[in-house]
């Protein structure tokens, strides 16, 4: 699916008059949003929670966007006074880190200022924001998008990337082209087979000030992708190549990088099957070779594992390994029909999933150079080889069933093998093996009142041992959510038993949400799409206000 129709639809709705953006006449509109999150921190040594000198920390932002016909301009003000724990303290302060102006017609769109962009799956370029992770690698520069002929989309951009309230050193330039054969060639428009092909080229420049190494100042990466759809079958694949890019991520080796994604799926009503493979070799790509964590990344390497919202499922979450990984994933989704034996009155959804990620095979270049020795070519690797070190493996089974008009249930079982050292960047922990079981039952007490009970269990002999979680949520549509939950760690020889009890009340009014809560939060990791953020343990109040206008 192309992005253009989507953004056109968005701007259409905002302008409110169905204009195609040919001029700047018509009604001007101002829209936006804001979010304020505050948390208090109390000392609680039993869970490792610390207090902070400010007592309360706060992250907040507000977007204000004006549109008139084809013209859009916006600013985002952000304030971290001071930054909440778990987010980088370099955010401390306030300002306007994001401002842009754009003009769009049927044929082209130009943007000046801050913008986000993705080429294909993101293997060579993706700038995006993910507030829960504290990620915002927006470009600041120029972008032009055009459709010179139907079915053909071209994008060109140049800019620097956001680094907290500043900009990173490196300059990034990129071009992307995509052709949808069925749209471009009218003879193919009625054909059952749909084909889209795309290609990108990205280059970054950063001056070499290193006293020891002779570092490449211009590093280029290219990618090619293909999507084929034919009735129930779909095939998606993308390949990326990056020239030598010594950086702190790869220990300053001069090896090139490659990535390959392959996805196939079959789906018809009531059945979905998908198979995916991902291979990465030295594909970290930043606009500053010395940047770390999630700062100044130019590309995004998609995660192959299935994401879950359950707390226990996220105890040991997968983090993408840019330096090398080989992943396989398979999933079967089936719906037992209504009135059938296993389907019951409303039908039953069943999902079976499997995922496995290992390292890749890395061989020494010669006898004297160790693998990934700085200042050398690093290592040699053959295309798409699977290493013997397991990073992550998971088998999962899920059932979603509406039992009667007032009872909705979800059951999940997962068997997880987690390479703690690799995925958390630590040593001495070894592999963690865990069983996770979730039972979520919603009882619709009336048309608008519902009570949800969520039970989660994590059984493991490693790390902190076993966990039990109970959550009770009472909702009164459309305005109230009252929730109380407890995560209880049973403890083992190494760790004492611990209780994490929290309660919250949320009030919703149209596009606004007010939430207050109090309790203990365990130390953990939040991951979105294979990119993670550490969350420290805390004890205190939380307040969250958000609104879309």
């Amino acid at each position: 699916m192309m992005r253009h129709p989507l953004l056109a639809a968005g701007l259409l709705l905002l302008s409110g008059l169905g204009l195609k953006g040919q001029d700047i006449s018509g009604e001007g509109q101002l829209h936006g949003n804001f979010q304020i999150d505050m948390q208090s921190y109390t000392e609680d040594s039993s869970i490792g929670a610390t207090k902070v000198p400010e007592y309360v920390l706060m992250n907040a932002y507000g977007n204000f966007v004006y549109t008139k016909g084809g013209f859009t301009a916006g600013v985002r003000y952000e304030a971290y006074l001071n930054t909440m724990l778990g987010y980088d303290a370099k955010y401390n302060g306030q300002g306007i880190p994001h401002k842009f102006a754009s003009y769009k017609t049927d044929e082209y769109e130009i943007t000046a200022g801050s913008f986000y962009e993705q080429f294909g799956s993101g293997l060579v370029l993706r700038s995006y924001e993910e507030k829960t992770l504290g990620i915002d690698n927006a470009f600041n520069g120029f972008r032009i998008k055009g459709s010179p002929y139907k079915g053909i989309n071209l994008t060109g951009l140049v800019g620097k990337q956001r680094y907290f309230f500043d900009l990173g050193q490196g300059i990034v330039r990129g071009v992307d082209g995509e052709i949808n054969f069925n749209e471009t060639f009218t003879k193919l428009s009625a054909k059952k087979t749909m084909i889209t092909i795309g290609g990108s080229f990205v280059s970054k420049f950063q001056a070499d000030k290193d006293p020891v190494y002779n570092l490449p100042e211009n590093v280029g990466a290219a990618a090619g992708r293909m999507n084929i759809q034919n009735g129930p079958f779909a095939f998606m694949s993308e390949y990326a190549y990056k020239i030598n890019d010594p950086s702190s991520d790869n220990n300053y080796i001069y090896k090139d990088g490659q990535a390959m994604l392959v996805n196939t799926s079959y789906s018809k009503k009531g059945l979905g099957i998908l198979l995916a493979a991902k291979w990465l070799d030295n594909m970290s790509y930043r606009s500053d070779r010395n940047a770390t964590i999630t700062n100044l990344q130019i590309n995004y390497l998609p995660a192959i594992n299935k994401p879950y919202t359950w707390a226990m499922s996220n105890m040991y979450p997968f983090a993408t390994q840019a330096n090398g990984e080989f992943g396989l994933q398979g999933e079967i989704m089936y719906k037992f029909k209504k009135e059938s034996l296993l389907g019951g009155k409303y039908g039953t959804n069943v999902t079976l999933g499997y995922c496995r990620v290992t390292d890749i095979e890395k061989k020494q270049i010669n006898d004297t150079i160790a693998i990934s020795e700085p200042g050398t070519l690093g290592y040699s690797s053959d295309f798409a080889t699977m290493g013997s070190n397991r990073y992550y493996e998971e088998i999962s089974f899920e059932v979603n069933k509406k039992i009667n008009s007032s009872l909705i249930t979800t059951f999940l079982y997962q068997n997880i093998s987690y390479n703690y050292d690799i995925l958390r960047g630590m040593t001495g922990h070894g592999m963690v093996y865990a069983h996770v079981a979730v039972a979520d039952v919603t009882w619709k007490m009336s048309k608008t009142k519902a009570l949800r009970l969520e039970q989660e269990y994590l059984i493991s002999k490693q790390d902190h041992g076993n966990w039990v979680m109970y959550l009770l949520e009472y909702s009164v549509a459309p305005k109230w959510f009252i929730t109380i939950w407890d995560q209880y760690n049973l403890g083992n020889d190494h760790y004492e038993a611990k209780n994490y009890l929290t309660g919250s009340v949320a009030f919703i009014h149209k596009g606004s949400r007010f939430q207050v809560g109090y309790g203990r939060q365990r130390e953990g990791v939040i991951c979105v799409g294979g990119v993670c953020r550490n969350v420290p343990a805390s004890n205190g109040f939380i307040l969250s206000i958000s609104s879309t206008f």
Binding site: L6, L11, M236, G272, M333, N349, T448, W480
Partner: protein, 76 residues
């Protein structure tokens, strides 16, 4: 919850959902509509005007949405 682009077609077909589903791979549409939390529901009339919006979802929210749609049809 974010669902990868490649998983969308098999996921939707397996559930038997028959309405139109559009993709927003890099959150461009989410940003254009100033959405903060998903799910976020917009009620839009035939001329493209946003009549109402609602953030989050609680069992029974569809009752209020249904009443609003009925009210909308009466006035058009």
């Amino acid at each position: 919850m974010k669902i990868g682009r490649r998983r969308v077609a098999p996921f939707i077909n397996s559930k038997g959902w028959e309405y139109i589903i559009l993709l927003d791979p890099n959150g461009d549409f989410k940003r254009a509509m100033n959405v903060i939390n998903v799910p976020h529901t917009f009620l839009i009339d035939a001329s493209g005007k946003i009549i109402d919006q609602h953030t989050s979802y609680a069992q029974g929210d569809e009752e209020e949405l249904y009443e609003k749609i009925k009210a909308c049809i009466k006035t058009e």
